[in-house]
């Protein structure tokens, strides 16, 4: 399996794609309040084009446009009955764009439902929701990425669901907030506890993405690298969004972002990419520095 070979190859740095939702916004394809996942059906050509632009920029592997395609999240958008069609089209779209020798990553995002006392979701509900999504993704992906999860409990439900359904490699990425006492999820799980827990669950790669810009994520990596020997994956945001007129801008210069990514690679990070606000241009610049290593 190619991904496992990449993991074993010490000189290989794996390059993810960049932001997808923000790329849809930047290109003016996403209407207000609309779930990006439905565009797999409604605007499949555009979705294929974005995937292709990331593969062309040098991504080794890209995410399917299924970040929000759990039954729980689709229900909020009254789209639950379309789940089969959404995921089938998503796989079709990314497979059309994926060149030989590159990989398709099944993207799994949060359900949007919190456990008490914040919301009323249960672990069983999460587990069943992630199981349904994984089963539908399994046939068309090379590996899975559970990402942007802000509650370790929800992550555990997702990891166990994926591992029950599939033997394919799994990257598990949590999103952290920076506090005066260090990096924590918004639910209060500290970085070290998250890393130890994911190690015990036998995921293949431990990751972090979103919320933090590249500077803060670099700081997080400096701590994380001493906490585990497992491969680490990072996908920071391109700074914080700024609204001008009707457009959202991410002002962080690409050079600064790429410099931070370079430093994270130097520290030992195995997989790099970008989250909100990063573009094919960002990925192309990261490709250049990886090719120089």
């Amino acid at each position: 399996m190619l991904f496992n070979e990449w993991l074993k190859n010490n000189s290989k740095i794996v390059l993810f794609d960049g932001g997808f939702g923000t790329e849809l916004l930047r290109r003016g394809i996403l209407e207000p309040g609309k779930l990006p996942d439905i565009l797999n059906i409604e605007k499949s050509d555009m979705i294929v084009e974005i995937h292709k632009s990331y593969y062309d920029a040098g991504s080794d592997m890209c995410h399917s446009n299924t970040f929000g395609s759990t039954p729980l999240n689709l229900r909020t958008h009254s789209l639950e009955e379309k789940i089969n069609e959404i995921i089938e089209k998503a796989l079709d779209n990314i497979q059309k764009a994926c060149p030989p020798g590159r990989l398709v990553v099944g993207d799994i995002g949060p359900t949007g439902k919190f456990r008490p006392p914040v919301g009323n979701a249960s672990s069983e509900e999460w587990h069943s929701s992630f199981t349904t999504q994984t089963k539908l993704l399994e046939k068309g992906v090379d590996l899975f990425h559970i990402e942007t999860i802000s509650d370790l409990e929800e992550m555990l439900s997702a990891v166990r669901a994926v591992k029950k359904v599939s033997n394919k490699p799994l990257i598990a990425s949590i999103t952290y907030k920076k506090t005066k006492r260090g990096f924590f999820t918004i639910m209060g799980d500290p970085l070290e506890k998250c890393i130890n827990t994911l190690e015990n669950e036998n995921v293949d790669v431990i990751g972090t993405n979103c919320t933090l810009g590249s500077g803060d994520m670099l700081e997080l990596v400096k701590q994380a690298i001493d906490m585990t020997d497992m491969p680490i994956s990072v996908k920071p945001n391109a700074g914080q969004p700024r609204l001008e007129g009707t457009k959202t801008h991410y002002d962080q210069p690409i050079e600064e972002f790429v410099r931070d990514i370079q430093e994270m690679i130097n520290l030992g990070v195995k997989i790099v990419g970008g989250c909100c606000g990063t573009t094919p241009e960002t990925i192309s610049e990261i490709r250049k520095i990886i090719d120089l290593i």
């Binding site: 916004l25 207000p32 309040g33 006392p117 914040v118 260090g182 209060g188 969004p241 609204l243």
Partner: protein, 217 residues
Amino acid sequence: MLLSQEQIFKDMVDSIVNLNEETAIELASKAIKDNMNLLDVIEKGYAIGIQKVGELWEEGEFFLPELMRGAQIMQNCLDLLTPHLEKGSEKISRGTVVIATIEGDIHSIGKTIVGTMLRAYGFKVFDLGADIPAEKIVDVAIEKDADVIGVSALLTTTMFGQKKIIEILNERNLLDRFKVILGGAPVTSSWVNECNADGFAENAIDAVKLVKSLLDK
């Protein structure tokens, strides 16, 4: 042994900070039974407790679950105490807030947390939910005689609805009647200025401070 009033207030504060609902409710019931001044009970006891919960959250000691639990316990104590307040002291309500997530946006968690915290701090809150048209938010604010309208938007594509609220108020000559505050990840102070809103808050604790300061003016 009779506890001093100060000690009882301190126990009330601790019950909220320690998220101990059983003790918090027991102390509230005892305060009613003992004919304590219930306004003092709220202001010197429970309100200080929830304020400390907010401080611990700001310090990164508490996280979302503790913040929400603290607010819920506070709310349950208020529900128990309020019917026993002397007539005329209903003024315990610091003001009325109508809160909603704007049309096209289904994100409700942040808005719900703000609503819960405002209630815990003694505001009367009408939470209309998510995906609510601007016209409806304004209509309910008029109907409930609100002091503050709070509008949340989590998407850069829906935050224009926040501006629409101000435009409707302007058209109806109601700008002076309400304070309008904005919330949500993409909201910045320059957006607040562009909308001509009265302020924005980055989190639930800041939202409470903002509403307090706007109504104190």
